[in-house]
Amino acid sequence: MSAPNSPPPTEATAGVAEDNRVTLRKLLVVTAVMFGFGFALVPFYEKICEVTGINRIVKRDDHRPANTQVDASRSVTVEFDANLRSNLPWTFRPLESSVKVHPGELATVIYEVTNTSDRPVTGQAIPSYGPMLAGQFFRKVECFCFDKQQMAPGERRQMPIAFVVDPGLPTEVNTITLSFTFFEVEGRASAEPATPARGGRS
């Protein structure tokens, strides 16, 4: 700032105006960069989720033989829970409410489903784990939750789930609760194959 005090300082004013334009340009660049930064957060976020595995809560695991070494030194209690949503006209329960397994040991449990209504109904089971941490150590080899289940009127069905608890399970976890919730699959999907329900928001 070097504005002289006396007469209307035209030269100084011009100098200030030039300074102002320079500052304006710099700040506009910052604005543009920050606008881009918002979008750059998208791939950045995806990368972080990928590296830390935050978004892989449930993963179908059909490729690996896993660690078949059974860790007989400890055992884990697996409890089974069954729920229904959307007024699904079914009954749904596990035949055993809990089993004790050694990590690495293959176990099979049967769930029983009955369609109590007089219409065919299609449902999809969604698993969840308590504690959530256990999900990534719980390997389902075979599960009725891999597919939609279509039930004829009055049909009763026994469905297996075969699983292995990964020996990597932290030792402080000694009980895992596996909870399945059946949701009714409505609309086109249950009306029969046709087109898969996807695309476009509704």
Binding site: N20, T23, L24, L27, M34, F37, G38, F39, C49, M132
Partner: protein
């Protein structure tokens, strides 16, 4: 503030000003524009206030009485959007326009024409927000944070809200560029950065924050818009997007945004307390550094708004401790204000009352903020009325009280008249009492588990809700008293001296009251 212009318009200068409405539309004068900002924000404050009173009416008793749940959701959303973007932010920009050139000895803002545009973008944006109530499906109803999936699924009201936010954002960015440029390049000779009044300092830092984060918000809502209409899947889980990503981007903007709304308030309070304690501000330098540290820290704490989305524990710990760290510079500020009062010869005119009220009640909001920063407690209190109470303590008793304080402090300079001191004090006491009646009980509601943004509630919450609603109506009506005091002061009153406050320092008090239309065309020299 008509009086200002009648006095100055005709004869100070040879050239003719357009008159009537054209004068306001074409004006590039920082005082005119500041006045328009202040009136605009007051009108929006009343609009947002009416929405809030509708909410509180519904919540007066359990059960559904006044509005449908869908309408209730629109009201909560628009109350938030209008108060944040339409009332608080433009009000501070109004103060900046009026006072910054006067405080740093500049003849006007750096880009006078852009200044005019910044203001005139606001009314169309406000119109879009109001119109959105009348489109099919009503106004945006997913909360002011516009979280997907709701914001992706809603009707055209959401599009209008997004456009409005784009416009308001553009206006804020232009305003901020103007403020930064003015402060950096147009200070009077001798006015070094470290001699600037704290209001200028806090606004300089705020303007940088705005330039850094408003574009990020613009990006986030642009992504929502393209998800809605152009089949992108940034946030649409069905297409492989992730709604949690929006929360991250939004709060990267959102947390600095809360400081954008409070730092200028800190500036105003830091002007007023020394004036009425008749002492220099204690720890000027530390105030500047504290403000800057708050601004920098604000970029690394955003995820404390989303502890419940399923973050790794390490991230929760980081964001928890980073958030708590902000209490340190904020504590420095509160300490400095109190130390400024220490052994000062204090008098309690209305600006000082509001400034003291600010310190007292804002600090309570700060403490509840610290409580909410603790991850396990936050998970318990997330989306309850405890959070509602917390941010109203910092936004109403913080930002709004500082705006009132600043208005009373500079009103004599703007209008040339003294306001009615008795009514001003009455306004303060009614405001602070009704404010606490409204919001203090909401802490208990939140601790007991009442969720926010829900129109009905369990019977156990009935008494506190009734108290809160009564307080809200009291608070709302009190603000009409404020309007009356301001209008009365514009119309007339005791003649204000150039410096009506005994202890006030600063260049703005060296010009006549009311401030002439043009000031400091020849820069003053600061020793």
């Amino acid at each position: 503030m008509q009086a200002t212009h009648d006095h100055a318009a005709g004869h100070d200068h040879g050239h003719a000003h357009p008159t009537g409405i054209m004068r306001w539309i074409t004006t590039t004068n920082h005082k005119d524009i500041g006045t328009m900002y202040l009136w605009f924000s007051f009108v929006m404050f009343l609009v947002g206030g009416v929405l809030a009173l509708l909410l509180r009416t519904e919540l007066f008793q359990p059960g559904m009485q006044v509005v449908e749940p869908e309408v209730f959701n629109q009201l909560t959303t628009m109350h938030g959007v209008i108060m944040v973007f339409g009332a608080i932010m433009p009000a501070f920009v109004g103060f900046a326009n009026w006072m910054l050139p006067l405080q740093i000895g500049a003849p006007d803002m750096a880009f006078a024409r852009m200044n005019n545009w910044s203001f005139w973008l606001l009314p169309p944006a406000a119109a879009l927000l109001v119109i959105s109530f009348f489109v099919p499906g009503g106004a945006a109803a997913g909360g002011w944070t516009l979280y997907p999936p709701l914001s992706i699924q809603m009707g055209p009201g959401m599009d209008l809200a997004i456009f409005a936010l784009h416009i308001l954002g553009a206006s804020s960015i232009m305003g901020s560029i103007n403020i930064v440029t003015t402060i950096l390049n147009m200070r009077a000779p001798g006015m070094t950065l470290m001699k600037m009044p704290l209001f200028a300092w806090t606004w300089l830092i705020t303007a940088y924050l705005l330039i850094a984060v408003m574009p990020v918000l613009a990006g986030a809502i642009t992504m929502v818009l393209t998800d809605r209409h152009f089949d992108t899947h940034f946030f649409n889980a069905a297409g492989g997007g992730d709604p949690v990503l929006f929360q991250h981007i939004f709060w990267f903007f959102g947390h600095p945004e809360v400081y954008i709304m409070i730092l200028p308030a800190f500036g105003i309070v830091s002007e007023i307390i020394p004036a009425f304690a008749r002492k220099q501000l204690f720890g000027y330098t530390s105030m500047v550094y504290a403000t800057a540290s708050i601004a920098i820290l604000s970029f690394i704490v955003w995820a404390h708004h989303m502890f419940t989305v399923g973050m790794p524990a390490t991230a929760q710990l980081f964001f928890m401790f980073a958030t708590m760290l902000i209490a340190v510079p904020t504590g420095v500020k509160v300490f400095n204000w109190v130390a400024t009062m220490w052994r000062g010869s204090m008098t309690f005119e209305t600006p000082m009352l509001f400034a003291c009220g600010f310190i007292f009640v804002f600090t309570m909001g700060g403490f509840t903020g610290l409580i909410l920063a603790i991850t396990p407690i936050d998970i318990q209190l997330h989306d309850t009325y405890f959070v509602v109470a917390h941010f109203h303590y910092v936004l109403v008793a913080g930002s709004l009280f500082a705006l009132f304080a600043g208005t009373y402090y500079w009103l004599p300079k703007w209008t040339g008249h003294m306001y009615d001191e008795t009514l001003g004090k009455l306004h303060f006491w009614l405001s602070v009492i009704f404010f606490n009646v409204t919001f203090f009980v909401q802490h208990f509601l939140g601790l007991a588990g009442m969720p926010r943004r829900v129109p009905d509630y369990a019977l156990q919450f009935a008494d506190f809700n009734m108290i809160s609603t009564i307080g809200a109506f009291g608070f709302g009506l009190t603000q009409l008293l404020f309007l009356y005091v301001v209008v009365k002061c514009i119309r007339g009153g005791a003649k204000a001296a150039d410096c009506p406050w005994e202890g006030a320092r600063g260049l703005e008090w060296t010009v006549p009251s009311p401030a002439p239309y043009h000031t400091f065309e020849t820069p003053p020299v600061v020793r």
